[in-house]
């Protein structure tokens, strides 16, 4: 840098420092904040025109369709002779287990050892959650049919096709072989979606951060097979010559548009909420979950994921959602260790985040009843004592304090227990 530039920088720094001193005393941004938030977001005119055209087209199509058809009745599902209701779990224990059949002719054959749940069912399709194992899926190509199969962090969207699909939770390995039609697979390393065509197979692993698409019958790694790196992470540095930004104002001389059509969101790789949660980035993980809605995430989550969903919401400061996930875990995974531990988590939410001490006491008692020798029994006993005390039930609190001191004379709640008994 030459001498003149150095002098200009010194002058500039002085000016900037003076500006910063003035700005530090100015709190007027609050009024702008209110105006910005109150301002409805306008769409550009081009979009409005397209939208208008789309609305007219949709209206015309709607009128035409209405004239020739009536609303379809919801589909029905069955598992062997047993009608299958939304929310029910089925598992295939041995070869020859009945198929899940839908009234439009679609069917799902579970492989032995597989477990699945019917998450939703409507007039055009269904959402099936395959917790583990494999399945042969045949969707009848009806007009407007829409089926989804979720497997851990992956989802397969299908309108009419036949494919084999599997998921191994232990290493989050997903496999799909497509025999007919077309499917869109999304989630984890696949980002917002990869289209697969008939004759292709896909294997993907969240844990390995890798997926591979190959032609049926081709040797892996051979000419017809293509190992594919995950889509570029959002943090990837731009390559030289590649522009980071679209022209923000659309009127810049020499500004670069980056080749994106206006008003079309560029593709963004959505990180998995499970991965973010695993890194302790709970607010980020919650933000990803919230994109589709927390309820939807709960409905398609496996038992293992429900515990993580609950923890994510809890640490993101969303007690209501945390309770929803833990309660779903209690009912869907009834009897499992995870469901029993969820009682403790529910109690913590009530105690820590809702100050609902009577309710917290109820759930700590539930945990102790279900897991008297569980890993959290000592903590549950101590916090039960605290909950009762804060709820105003001194008699019960003293009784628990006595039990606590008898069982854990030097436990972390010893002092609290002694204080309670001394009163």
């Amino acid at each position: 840098m030459n001498a003149l530039a150095e002098r200009l920088q010194r002058l500039g720094r002085e000016v900037a420092a003076e500006q910063d001193r003035a700005l530090s005393q100015d709190l007027s941004l609050g009024s702008v904040r209110a105006r910005v938030i109150a301002q409805p977001v306008r769409r550009p005119l081009r979009i409005k025109l397209w939208a208008s055209a789309a609305v007219l087209a949709a209206a015309a199509a709607g009128i035409a369709v209405y004239g020739f058809s009536r609303p379809r009745a919801p589909l029905a599902a069955s598992f062997g002779d047993h009608p299958l209701a939304v929310g029910e779990w089925v598992s295939a224990t041995e070869p020859g287990t009945p198929h899940i059949r839908f009234s439009d002719g679609s069917e799902v054959a579970l492989s032995p050892g597989s477990r699945a749940r019917l998450a939703t069912l409507d007039s055009v399709g269904a959402h099936l959650v395959l917790e583990s194992g494999a399945a042969d899926v045949r969707v009848t190509p009806n007009h407007g049919a829409r089926y989804r199969v979720s497997l851990g962090p992956f989802a397969v969207d299908v309108t009419g096709t036949r494919f084999d699909v599997g998921f191994r939770p232990s290493d989050e390995l997903f496999t799909l072989t497509l025999h007919e039609g077309k499917v869109v697979v999304s989630g984890c390393v696949l980002g917002e979606g990869r289209t697969l065509l008939a004759g292709e197979s896909l294997s993907a692993s969240c844990r390995a951060g890798h997926f591979e698409i190959s032609a049926l019958g081709a040797e892996t790694g051979g000419g017809a097979s293509a190992a594919v790196a995950p889509p570029p992470a959002p943090s990837a540095e731009p390559v030289p010559g590649e522009q980071l930004l679209a022209d923000p104002m659309g009127d810049s001389e020499g500004a670069h548009n980056g080749g994106q059509p206006h008003d079309q969101a560029p593709a963004v790789v959505v990180p998995s909420w499970q991965g973010l949660s695993g890194q302790g980035r709970f607010a980020d993980a919650y933000a990803v979950i919230a994109l589709d809605g927390f309820e939807a995430a709960v409905s398609r989550a496996s038992v293992t994921e429900l515990a993580l969903l609950g923890d994510t919401a809890r640490f993101a400061g969303k007690p209501a959602d945390a309770l929803t996930a833990y309660q779903a875990l209690r009912s869907r995974g009834a009897g499992t260790a995870a469901a029993k531990q969820a009682a403790f988590s529910i109690a913590r939410v009530h105690f820590d985040q809702r100050a609902a001490y009577a309710e917290a006491a109820r759930w700590f008692r539930t945990y102790l009843a279900e897991q008297p020798g569980g890993p959290l029994a000592r903590e549950a006993q101590g916090r039960l004592m605290e909950s009762l005390s804060r709820a105003g039930d001194r008699v019960a609190a003293r009784k628990v304090a006595e039990q606590y001191l008898a069982q854990y004379p030097h436990g972390p709640h010893e002092r609290v227990a002694r204080q309670l008994l001394a009163r």
Partner: protein
């Protein structure tokens, strides 16, 4: 003890005032996703995270100016309306800087056109004189922006971002939406123009100790 325990827990798990409030995503990528999904809290979070930065950029470019808050408003309205055009969500801050620069540029150009229009009939005159700026400026700062007012708009912006905002050349280029080579040429011209005009400003003579020195980036 129990009180201390609960305080520790409260620090670890801060209570939220509103159950419908989205916890602020820590990363810009997720904030952009929330904005694109039109989450009701996302606009507020964008403003809270970046309004101070945007205002600082605008102040650097515009100087003491009564319209800074209006410009901040315009920047965020533009950003919220065009977030779908942001290619790399991780570059959210740089993108907002660029919007701020272009918003300031449009305002400066409108004022320049206004000055030219003053030679036109009364009915075609633009808005009246601006009210005084929000804060008192030193003589040196006033002199800097008097000189910058006289520069070509693009040169003024490049100069302000480089020397007042203290940006690297690549940042200046990205903020102006032009190549590095273009920004170097623009800055070279801006330095010559600025030093030449600054000779008429006594408040700047000590700062610059003006002499025949080659501008940064080589000859224009």
């Amino acid at each position: 003890m129990a009180k201390k325990d609960s305080q520790a827990v409260a620090e670890l798990l801060p209570l939220r005032k509103s159950q419908s409030e989205l916890p602020a995503p820590e990363s810009d990528e997720l904030l952009v996703l929330s904005l694109r999904a039109r989450h009701p809290d996302a606009g507020t979070q964008l403003f809270d995270r970046y309004a101070p930065h945007v205002r600082r950029v605008l102040v650097r470019v515009m100087g003491p100016d009564s319209e800074i808050l209006d410009l901040v408003h315009d920047v965020f309205v533009t950003a919220l309306e065009s977030v779908n055009r942001l290619i790399d969500p991780k570059a959210l801050r740089a993108w907002l800087t660029q919007i701020a620069v272009f918003t300031a540029r449009a305002r400066i150009r409108r004022r320049v056109r206004g000055r030219i229009l003053r030679f036109l009939p009364f009915s075609e005159l633009p808005e009246p004189e601006l009210p005084p700026p929000d804060f008192e400026a030193s003589q040196a700062m006033q002199a800097v922006y008097r000189v910058l007012d006289a520069l070509d708009t693009d040169q003024r912006i490049a100069f302000a971002l480089r020397f007042v905002a203290g940006m690297e050349l690549t940042e200046v280029a990205a903020s102006c939406g032009v190549s590095l080579a273009t920004i170097k040429r623009r800055l070279a011209r801006a330095q010559i123009s600025f030093t030449s005009m600054a000779q008429k400003e006594p408040a700047l003579s000590e700062w610059l100790a003006l002499g025949a020195v080659a501008p940064e980036g080589g000859a224009p």
